[in-house]
């Protein structure tokens, strides 16, 4: 799987969770729900974004390494 695909999968997972959470919030609206969102759901986004940056960077390097160290007949 390429870095781009991995990144897309992570962002998709986050989007899906956000959409589902928005639906859940329509029927669960007490303090526990707000607290759950603040403590569990919200911190996932920065964690995903930070991971995506790292994945993108290492993915670019991987391509450079393959180009520079790979077989010259294929480059």
């Amino acid at each position: 799987m390429s870095a781009q695909v991995t990144k897309a999968n992570l962002i998709d997972a986050l989007k899906q969770l956000r959409v589902r959470w928005a639906v859940i919030k329509q029927t669960w609206q007490d303090d526990a729900a707000m607290r759950f969102e603040r403590e569990i759901i919200d911190p996932l986004e920065p964690a995903i974004m930070h991971a995506c940056k790292g994945i993108e960077h290492v993915g670019e390097l991987m391509q450079t390494v393959r180009r520079e160290c790979g077989d010259d007949s294929s480059s």
């Binding site: 799987m1 390429s2 870095a3 991995t6 999968n9 992570l10 998709d12 997972a13 986050l14 899906q16 969770l17 589902r20 959470w21 639906v23 859940i24 029927t27 669960w28 007490d30 303090d31 526990a32 729900a33 607290r35 759950f36 403590e39 569990i40 911190p43 996932l44 920065p46 964690a47 995903i48 930070h50 991971a51 940056k53 790292g54 994945i55 960077h57 290492v58 390097l61 991987m62 390494v65 520079e68 160290c69 077989d71 010259d72």
Partner: protein
Amino acid sequence: MSDQVRIHNFRALTDAKIALIQFAEQVAGALASMDSDVSRASMWLHQERPSYWKHEIRRRGEDVNKAKTEISRKIIAAAPEPASLVLERRALHRCQSRLEEAQKRLEKVKSWGPRWEREAMMYKGSTHGLSEQLHREIPLALARLEKMFQALEAYAKIAPPGASDVATDVATEVADAAPPGNVATDREP
């Protein structure tokens, strides 16, 4: 009417649990795949590539020697007349270029080795927070949801009809009364 609210809460807790589980599965799969790519790249760079280019240097070095031998053979064969060596010199030049390219690539492989390890470590660092969420926070969150669910379930068994607001409070209280080590307790200001 009030019973509906309680049923919605049951369903919301179950849905939240399923959503978190599916999120964790998708993220874990994506991270595992990327980790595997990074590990494979390390193996390729540290094991496969050095031996490949060393082998190529040997092989291409032999090609250079063969091309040189061919030029010598042609000079001797044509003596005392001067031999036409255009094609042979071109072939020698091509072999030398290929040898130099292999040597450069082996140097690249050697220089990338330590740098790649540093970058792989930085990559692991960038996904560490997310891994923590997957392996620590989400399981704790699931346990928290389960406790809320159990509290609601227990209440539903004993509550008189029309006591749904209290049922919601039960769930809230469970979240508030988290045991030591629980996310809720740890993050309280």
